[in-house]
């Protein structure tokens, strides 16, 4: 019987140096997953590659398929290099893992939205490469539905957790639409630059102030802003809506004295001062002045931590959803496994009865067409009645995962090899009486 498995490395099991060697570029995904499926002898395959994980989902009849996948991956990292860093899950655990990954429960930042898009890319690539069979197709279609359910029914994606996004959210709480708002970036700190870019992406106009004119020009070009000299700080503060301060100054750059003038010039129009510098650039007492909202790096980090803690709390509810959906998927899969056996049983019983019909029909003295129609109806009814009890018990055994009972049925009836491993062709043909009918007609 074919087994579903996942084998991979993630931020939890491997260093970034290893993951970056394994990472596959999006444009190379279809070709790589096809080569992988061929090399490892997989019936179905799907390769997820992000900066935090590289993992292969596969379906194969042979037990050493995960080992072959590992060997394929080690072509880039060296033999034996992955043994200590890979994780492997089988069947229901592999499905659960796929659901958790798509729902961002296994992400470095729980609830981050990018992973779902990356898994969808992997699904498209496997489909384009022709290695996405019915089982992985079903598993990942379900994974996308589970991810959607988790996002809509829990708060796992609620609240922003990056400093620059939080600064942007707060600016929106004060000003609403940020399009056309003036954002002042004071200093050249990396985090400040990131926050300013975030605001610029929302349509804000960016002005970059720096002690060095060259650095201001350079930063302005990088962020899509306009350079200004640090001597223009007071006049720019009077005009801007948001000021992001991230200088390396040892003293306050935005002082009480400066802001008293600025606030008067602004006529108490609100200003949002984001102080990401350590030591701080903005005198914290300014936060008490009318129209001034001052948030330092600790305030923003506190919000990030609260949001992250909230997401973790919500993750418990999300795990429940994943568990329920995993059980439902496994039940569906067991039913799919039983389908060939059920079809085979019906075929066998009906075949026996049909053979007896063919032997008996010539000896009957009535109208052969009418007799055949009546006896075929009888065969259908007899097949149903004979198999009602055994099939109900078989389905129950399937739901329980009782392999012994299923094997006993296989042993009792000579159903043929295809009923035990035909997961890839579950829709077996119903036995037909047409050839026999042809014979009679002739």
């Amino acid at each position: 019987m074919s087994r579903l498995f996942v084998l991979g490395v993630s931020h939890k099991t491997s260093p970034v140096a290893l993951r970056e060697r394994l990472a596959v570029k999006p444009e190379a995904l279809p070709e790589t997953v096809k080569s992988l499926a061929e090399a490892a002898g997989l019936d179905e395959a799907l390769l997820v590659s992000t900066c935090n994980r590289v993992e292969v989902y596969g379906l194969a009849a042979h037990d050493d398929a995960p080992e072959r996948v590992r060997a394929f991956l080690e072509r880039t990292t060296g033999p034996g290099s992955l043994a200590a860093h890979t994780y492997e899950r089988q069947d229901a655990d592999a499905v659960r893992h796929a659901f958790r990954v798509a729902s961002s429960l296994d992400s470095m930042v729980v609830g981050e939205p990018q992973i779902l898009g990356q898994v969808k890319d992997a699904y498209e690539a496997a489909s384009a490469a022709g290695v996405l069979g019915s089982l992985l197709d079903r598993a990942f279609t379900k994974a996308f539905a589970v991810a959607k359910r988790v996002r809509s029914e829990t708060g796992v994606a609620a609240g922003t957790v990056s400093i620059s996004s939080i600064a942007c959210d707060l600016a929106e709480q004060i000003f609403g639409d940020l399009r056309g708002r003036r954002v002042l970036l004071v200093g050249a700190g990396k985090m400040g630059e990131s926050a300013a870019k975030h605001l610029a992406k929302e349509g804000a106009r960016l002005f970059v102030l720096n002690r060095s004119r060259e650095r201001a020009l350079e930063l302005a070009a990088a962020c899509g802003g306009e350079p200004r000299s640090l001597s223009e700080l007071a006049s720019e503060l009077a005009l801007c809506d948001v000021a992001i301060c991230s200088t390396s100054s040892e003293r306050f750059v935005v002082t009480m004295e400066l802001m008293k003038e600025v606030v008067r010039a602004r006529k108490y129009r609100p200003i949002f001062l984001v102080d990401i510098a350590v030591p701080r650039d903005v005198d914290p007492r300014i936060g008490e002045m009318e129209g001034c909202f001052v948030y330092d790096v600790d305030d923003l980090q506190k919000v990030a931590n609260e949001n992250l803690a909230g997401r973790r709390r919500e993750a418990e509810a999300a795990e429940q959803i994943v568990e329920t959906e995993t059980r439902a998927f496994e039940e569906w899969r067991r039913q799919q496994d039983l389908k060939p056996l059920i079809v085979g049983l019906r075929e066998h019983v009906r075949g026996v009865l049909a053979a007896e019909l063919e032997r008996t029909l010539p000896r009957l003295k009535g109208d052969p067409t009418q007799d055949r129609a009546a006896l075929e109806r009888m065969i259908d009814a007899a097949t149903n009645k004979l198999l009602h009890g055994p099939l109900t018990a078989l389905k129950a055994a399937g739901e329980r995962g009782d392999a012994a009972a299923i094997d006993a049925v296989r042993a009792l009836f000579p159903l043929g090899a295809e009923t035990s491993s035909s997961r890839r062709d579950p829709e077996a043909q119903r036995p037909e009486l047409t050839p026999a009918r042809g014979k009679v007609g002739a």
């Binding site: 709480q173 004060i174 609403g176 108490y268 609100p270 129209g291 909202f293 949001n307």
Partner: protein, 281 residues
């Protein structure tokens, strides 16, 4: 149907008051706890209350020829309906300045409820005697009602501004902060309501003064209610003037709006509990 209209009126009053009470509770719960379902339920309850309110006003006219009483109770009944309608229109219009305006119902619906309950007090009050009626009276009452409606909406927005500003200052991120509209949107909306209400209220004050002088030229220069009305007018004039002239906005403008509206409420309260017709400036 026409005959039973007077019987229905007290029932409609009770249903309307109950709907406004439920809507106020739901809006408050929505503000404090969030949840889209609560927000929708609150808007639904307010919508039901508004329809019931409209029927409450129209029903008596079905049984007899409509006569404008032009007293304070009728003004409050019409005014509270207009507050509710204006809020629903402002919130539900596709061109609303923010998608989060519905939460303002937590501050505006209680005002609607209080005005409506005020309209129900002393229902048997006599309407304005024929002798003191004048062409100026409907103008005086009409523009005053419209002015007070705009001020009631501005008041709700101002309270929301103060709450939102405090949340931001105390760095209480999430919760109420994320449900209330942005500060700048509240500030601009409050200004717009005052800019609409002030000219109407001014016209109401002027027409009232003219009518009072015509009614009794020997009356004292300023009665208590006239003094309170003038105080309300001066407060709103200051809020508007300082905003336009000196650029005052934000918290100061919000407190000014709240003070002006409280003066207006004092004025209305004086009329409600005053003996007689409740007419006069």
């Amino acid at each position: 149907m026409l005959r039973c209209a007077p019987v229905i009126v007290p029932i409609l009053f009770g249903v309307t008051a109950l709907a406004y009470l439920v809507a106020s509770g739901l809006f408050l719960a929505f503000l404090l706890r969030g949840g889209e379902a609560l927000g929708r339920a609150a808007l639904g309850a307010l919508g039901a209350g508004t329809i019931s309110h409209l029927v409450f006003l129209v029903a008596p006219a079905l049984s007899a020829a409509p006569v404008l009483a032009l007293d304070i109770r009728e003004s409050l009944a019409v005014g509270s309906l207009l507050v509710s309608l204006a809020f629903l229109v402002t919130t539900l219009t596709p061109r609303a300045p923010s998608t989060r305006l519905s939460v303002l119902g937590a501050f505006i619906t209680p005002v609607t409820l209080v005005f409506f309950l005020g309209a129900g007090l002393h229902r048997n009050v006599t309407s304005v005697p024929e002798g003191v009626r004048s062409a100026l009276l409907p103008v005086h009452v009409g523009v005053n009602v419209l002015g007070v409606v705009a001020f009631a909406l501005a008041f709700g927005v101002a309270v929301a501004y103060v709450v939102q500003e405090r949340q931001l200052r105390q760095k209480r991120i999430g919760g109420m902060l994320s449900r209330l509209p942005p500060l700048d949107v509240l500030d601009a909306l409050g200004f717009r309501f005052i800019a609409i209400g002030f000219p109407l209220f001014t016209l109401g004050v002027v027409s009232g003064a003219l009518w009072a002088v015509r009614l009794d030229p020997d009356a004292p220069a300023l009665s208590t209610s006239q003094l309170v009305g003038l105080l309300a007018w001066l407060t709103f004039a200051a809020v508007l003037g300082l905003r336009v002239g000196a650029g005052w906005r934000g918290r100061r403008a919000a407190y000014g709006t709240m003070a002006g509206f409280l003066c207006t409420c004092l004025l209305l309260l004086g009329y409600v509990f005053r003996d007689g017709s409740g007419v006069g400036s």
